[in-house]
Amino acid sequence: MLIKKAPDIRSSEITPKDIYLRRREFIQGSAAALVGAGLAGWPGDAEAQIPRTKLPDVKKSPLSTTETPSEYEYVTSYNNFYEFASGAGDGPKANSKSFKNRPWTLAIEGLVAKPATYQLDDFLKPYALEERVYRMRCVEAWSFVIPWVGIPLAEVIKKVEPTSKAKYVEFQTLHDVARFPAQRTNSLDWPYIEGLRLDEAMHPLTLLAVGIYGEVLPAQNGAPIRLVVPWKYGFKGVKSIVKMRFVETQPRNTWQIMSPREYGFYANVNPMVDHPRWSQARERRLPSFVPNRRTEMFNGYADQVQSLYAGMDLRRNF
C-alpha cells in the first residue's frame, strides 16, 4: 500500500510576514485600481499632460498668409507623428496623453563657435515670439493653414555662429520610449532625423515653432519645439527637437533612409514631381472629402524661395 506523504510547503510559497500583515491594503489597492480603471474609461479620455495655455507677448508677422486658418480641432486631431502612432489620423493625439514637455534639453553641436546644451526655457528666453500663419502641405496630398507661434531659426543660427565649414543643419527628435510609445516598434528608424541646407535654415520663413493658435504646442503637433519650413512637405518639419548639429555634408533624413526612391532630401512642394504612388498636382485642404485645390509650386512661397534653387534640377533633387 502506497501512503502518500503530504508535500512540505516550499518556503517560496510562504507569504512573507510583512506582506501578509498588509494584505488588506493590497486588496483595497487592487479594488481601487479596478474602480479607477473603470472610471477612467478609454485611454483617449484621459486629460493631456500639456494643458492648453496661452503664450504671452506674441507679435503678428507680415510673413503670414491672409488665408483663414484651419479649425483647431482638425489640426490637433489629424497628425502624422510615427513616434506616437503609424499613419495620419487621431492616433498621435490618443497616444500622447502622458507626454511631458518639460524638462527638455536642446543641444547645439558641431561646426559652431558656441556649442551648448540648454534647458528649453533658457534657450527661448532671448527671443520674441511671433505668430506666422503658414500653409502646411503634407506629402500625402492634404493641407492645412496653421497659425504657428515661434522664433525665426535664422536668429538662433546667428547667435551660435556657425563656422565657415558648416553647410547643413541636422535636426534630431527625442528618442525615448517612455515619452514616445511607438518607438518600441520599428516602423521608422529612430531617432527621426531631418536636415536643411544652411541657406534654407537661414531663410526668414523658416521657423522654430513652440505653439499654435497662440497656445503652447500640443504633444501631437510636435511639442515642445519643432521645425516649420512652409515651402517643403510636412515631414521636413521635424518634431520634438533635442539636437541641432551643424555639419559639412548633407545629412540623411529619416524618410529618405526608409525609401530613397520616394523621399528626397529637399522635399520641396512641387506639383510637377509626383510621388511614385500618387499625384502631387492637387491636394485636399482639410477638412474635405475630395481634392479641392491645385498644389502650388513651393506651396505658394515661390517668390520668396525659388532663388535658393536657381539652376537646380528639381526633378532629380526632389
Partner: protein
C-alpha cells in the same frame, strides 16, 4: 412562410412546447443571420460616422482605407469556409461561402467608388494615369475585376450553365486574394505590420489548400 406556421396552428396561440418535434431554426440559418449583421455593421458605422461628421479631418482617405480593409476581411472570411468545413466536418457551412464573397464585392464597389470620387473626383485623366503608372492601383483593379466576374457568375443559373468550368473560374478568387494583399502591401508608406498580418492569414488559407491537393496526389499506402 416559416415552417412553424400553418393554417392549423396560426389561429391558435403558439408555444414552442406545443410542437417540440419540429426544431424551427437551423444552425446554418443562425450563422447566416450573424454574418449578415457582422458584415453590415462596418458599413453602418461608416454611415453613422458620416452623419455625425466623425470620419477624421480627411474623411475621403478614411473611407478609402476602411472599405478596402473590410473588402479584404470579407474575402479572407470567404476563403476560410472550405478549411473550416474540412477541419470540422461541418459540411453545411459551405452555404455561407457565396454570401461572404458577395460581401467582399459589396465593399469592393464602395472601395472603387472612394477611389473615383474621393481620390480623383471623377477626373478621368488622373484615373488613367493612376492605372497606368502605379502598380498597386493596377493590381488592385485586377483584383476588383476578378471579384466582379465572380459576382456575376455567382448565381445558380451561371453555376448550371458553366458546369465544370464554374469551379475553374471561381478558383480565380485565390488570385484576387493575393492581389488584394499585395495591393495593400505596396501602398503603405512605413510600418508594414498590418499587410503582413493579412499576408500571414492568406498564406495559411492558401497553404492548407496546397497541402490538401498534394496529399490527394500521393498514392495510397496500406
Amino acid at each position: 412562410m416559416p415552417g412553424w406556421t400553418s393554417a392549423a396552428t396560426s389561429d391558435r396561440p403558439q408555444t414552442v412546447t406545443a410542437r417540440p418535434a419540429r426544431r424551427v431554426v437551423k444552425t446554418i440559418t443562425l450563422v447566416k443571420a450573424a454574418l449578415w449583421v457582422a458584415a453590415l455593421t462596418p458599413a453602418a458605422l461608416l454611415v453613422r460616422g458620416f452623419f455625425r461628421n466623425d470620419l477624421t479631418a480627411n474623411p475621403g482617405d478614411y473611407l478609402t482605407d476602411q472599405t478596402g480593409t473590410w473588402m479584404l476581411a470579407c474575402l479572407m472570411a470567404s476563403l476560410s469556409v472550405t478549411p473550416i468545413r474540412r477541419l470540422t466536418g461541418w459540411n453545411e457551412i459551405i452555404k455561407v461561402r457565396r454570401l461572404l464573397g458577395l460581401f467582399a464585392f459589396f465593399y469592393g464597389v464602395q472601395h472603387l467608388l472612394t477611389w473615383i470620387v474621393f481620390v480623383h473626383y471623377f477626373d478621368v485623366g488622373f484615373m488613367a494615369e493612376d492605372l497606368a503608372k502605379r502598380p498597386y492601383i493596377t493590381i488592385g483593379m485586377a483584383a476588383w475585376l476578378i471579384l466582379f466576374v465572380l459576382t456575376l457568375t455567382s448565381n445558380r443559373m451561371a453555376v448550371r450553365k458553366l458546369g465544370r468550368r464554374w469551379q475553374t473560374l471561381h478558383r480565380w478568387v485565390y488570385v484576387a486574394g493575393v492581389a488584394g494583399v499585395l495591393h495593400f502591401w505596396l501602398l503603405v508608406r512605413a510600418d508594414t505590420s498590418e499587410p503582413l498580418r493579412w499576408a500571414a492569414g492568406l498564406s495559411v488559407l492558401l497553404g492548407l489548400r496546397v497541402w490538401w491537393a498534394w496529399r490527394k496526389r500521393q498514392p495510397l499506402r496500406s
